[in-house]
């Protein structure tokens, strides 16, 4: 059974109304929580364009998130750019980074996705090393502090509304992208790269475009995060930072557009609930990941919509089928 369009629209409308009302009245810590979750949802959904729709497994999405965050932060704090210009420039730098790395990443052999995984991880560690070691520009481990949103966005409540609007626009854009002819082509390539090549599609070019789009939206999330948190450090680009959206996608379910969003909420619940008992809540995340891997290939969304293991859609079986 699939969630009907109407029920899904109702659910979305309810969420939107709640998000419009809550930031104005909710206690301030919930306002922070809402901003943080919205940013994480955009981050994870940007990766779903690659994983779910493109069939490309990236372990390095943090590279583009941190490029967006660092670029906009450095431009305002070090070069004194106006906030608005820096906010626009951050995602552009992430886009550029995704383009430069993406050219090499999509060029590689695609056997079993292994090279793709290794290169995305390696390039994100390169960004991490650059942020960490290039002290004169990035201030290394000290990170960048004092990134403040000014003017109308100066309070946590108004900034939360700003995050909501930007994330909503981006998610809508991503939805339009996956439903567009480009998105359909991407899914065709995911389902059968060889056939796509035989009908004359330039597989690498489509994959590169998807990679750049995903990187750009991750950059938007990073930019939002920089002004939200005020302080950023190279940890944003570390592999463990990349693991968050990767886990959100698989825990929520890559076969669904909203899976990553659900995954973000599940991870948040695990963090806060287990975090009450122990500082080692990552153990719980690890166990959840193993359980989902073994028992819930469709993720939590698959569980909610009643699709068991046997009901995996054909493309997911094919994406994940072992080829000899």
């Amino acid at each position: 059974m699939k969630i009907g369009l109407n029920r899904q629209s109702l659910l979305l409308a309810a969420c939107a109304i709640a998000l419009l009302v809550l930031p104005a009245f909710a206690p301030i810590r919930y306002v922070f929580l809402i901003s943080e979750l919205l940013i994480a949802i955009l981050y994870a959904t940007s990766l779903n364009l690659l994983m779910g729709y493109g069939g490309m497994l990236s372990l390095g999405q943090a590279a583009y998130f941190s490029l967006g965050a660092y670029a906009s932060a450095l431009l305002t704090t070090r070069l004194g750019w106006p906030m608005e210009a820096a906010m626009l420039a951050g995602p552009l730098v992430a886009m550029l980074g995704a383009l430069v790395f993406g050219v090499f990443i999509v060029r590689t052999s695609h056997q079993e996705h292994a090279y793709f995984l290794m290169l995305t991880l390696a390039f994100s560690q390169l960004v991490y090393a650059a942020l960490y070691k290039w002290y004169s520009v990035t201030r290394g481990d000290d990170g960048i502090t004092g990134i403040t949103a000014t003017g109308l966005l100066g309070t946590p409540r108004t900034y939360c509304y700003f995050v909501f609007v930007v994330v909503a626009v981006c998610i809508y854009a991503l939805r339009r992208i996956v439903d567009s002819p480009f998105g359909t082509t991407l899914q065709a390539i995911r389902d059968n790269p060889r056939r796509a090549e035989f009908v004359g599609l330039s597989v690498r070019r489509y994959q590169l475009l998807a990679f750049v789009i995903a990187g750009s939206f991750a950059g938007v999330a990073g930019m939002l995060y920089a002004f939200f948190s005020g302080t950023i450090s190279p940890q944003l680009a570390d592999w463990s930072a990349s693991s968050r959206p990767f886990f959100a996608n698989t825990i929520g379910g890559v076969a669904s557009f909203w899976g990553p969003a659900v995954g973000v909420l599940v991870l948040e619940i695990i963090d806060t609930q287990v975090g009450r008992f122990t500082e080692h809540s990552l153990i719980a995340v690890g166990i959840a990941v193993l359980l989902v891997g073994v028992y819930l290939p469709q993720g939590v969304v698959g569980l909610l919509t009643g699709q068991g293991r046997g009901a995996a859609p054909a493309w997911l079986r094919r994406l994940t089928k072992r080829r000899n």
Binding site: Y115, L117, L119, L121, S243, H280, L282, L290, G293, V294
Partner: protein, 291 residues
């Protein structure tokens, strides 16, 4: 001139550790098409088990050998357990889920290390009897470094003999070629997967134990070296043992001499080299081309 020779030696040493890790990663991928992202964590666990076995103090040569072999066997057994209990259940799910559980296992292992040994830096002294130096002209080379090079070469040779000259090695090569046919011929392929995975984990742990006296132990040491190992197999070609050797020497020496000339640029240059090799040969120097 002597400086360069010493730098070359330290590069070889690094290459040896990288080869021990990359060969296991490559073998596992060749046989079961699994990219084992947990591989670096087995290396870290090897170092920590060595630390626990020697209680962080200096031991004699025999104690040292026992601790290295013990760490290898313990982590090999852990690898076998992980393969049978978890990995085997997700093979059918393909690379997405293999990547997921091996990535998740890194979290578990790193947190477990933090709980058992705390997150602080740990150091292990060189074993007694191997802590001296050999004087070469005006420089001194630690005896331990020379011993490591000998041990590493011996392991590499043994690995080559096993793969080229034994029945087990024949099965490994056959599995890399055509798993289905092998299974039709009555070979227990799942057991082959388990043994290969355990063997790779064992090699990684031995590398970690041997490296313990030379590096400081941190919970994240595994994921740090993992990225370098990826560079090795991307350059050399995933699934090829000679490729792992060549890749390891390239990366090890590149790092050693890169640090000599420009510490800041050593790592970016390595990635540049990797990118250039990928443009010329998308499957690495000795990797099998796409089917």
């Amino acid at each position: 001139m002597e400086d360069l020779a010493l730098q070359f030696l330290s590069g070889l040493l690094k290459s040896m550790f990288l080869f021990l890790l990359a060969s296991g990663l490559s073998l596992i991928f060749g046989v079961s098409r699994v990219l084992n992202i947990t591989h670096g964590s087995f290396y870290a666990l090897g170092a920590y088990v060595f630390f626990a076995a020697t209680r962080g103090g200096a031991v004699g040569i025999r104690g040292f050998a026992a601790a290295v072999v013990g760490a290898g066997l313990a982590i090999g057994a852990l690898g076998a357990l992980f393969e049978t209990l978890i990995l085997r259940k997700v093979y059918r799910g393909g690379m997405l889920f293999v990547a997921l559980v091996t990535f998740g296992a890194i979290l578990l292992i790193e947190e477990a290390i933090k709980i058992i040994w705390s997150g602080e830096l740990k150091a292990v002294p060189r074993p007694a009897g191997l802590d001296g130096g050999i004087t070469l002209g005006t420089h001194t080379v630690p005896v331990y470094d020379v011993v490591l090079l000998v041990v590493g070469t011996a392991i590499a040779l043994a690995l080559w003999l096993v793969i080229e000259r034994t029945r087990f090695g024949l099965l490994l090569r056959a599995a890399a070629f055509d798993r289905e046919m092998l299974s039709v011929l009555g070979v227990d392929v799942p057991r082959l997967y388990t043994v290969t995975f355990a063997g790779g984990a064992c090699l990684a742990a031995v590398a970690g134990a041997l490296a313990a006296p030379m590096v400081s132990l941190t919970p994240s040491m595994g994921s740090q070296i993992l990225v370098e190992v990826f560079a090795v197999v991307v350059i050399g070609g995933l699934g090829s043992l000679p490729g792992s050797l060549i890749g390891a020497i390239i990366v090890g020496e590149f790092e050693a001499f890169g640090i000599l000339f420009s510490p800041e640029l050593a790592m970016p240059m390595l990635y540049l080299l990797m990118a250039v090799i990928l443009i010329i040969r998308p499957t690495g120097l000795l990797g099998a081309p796409d089917k």
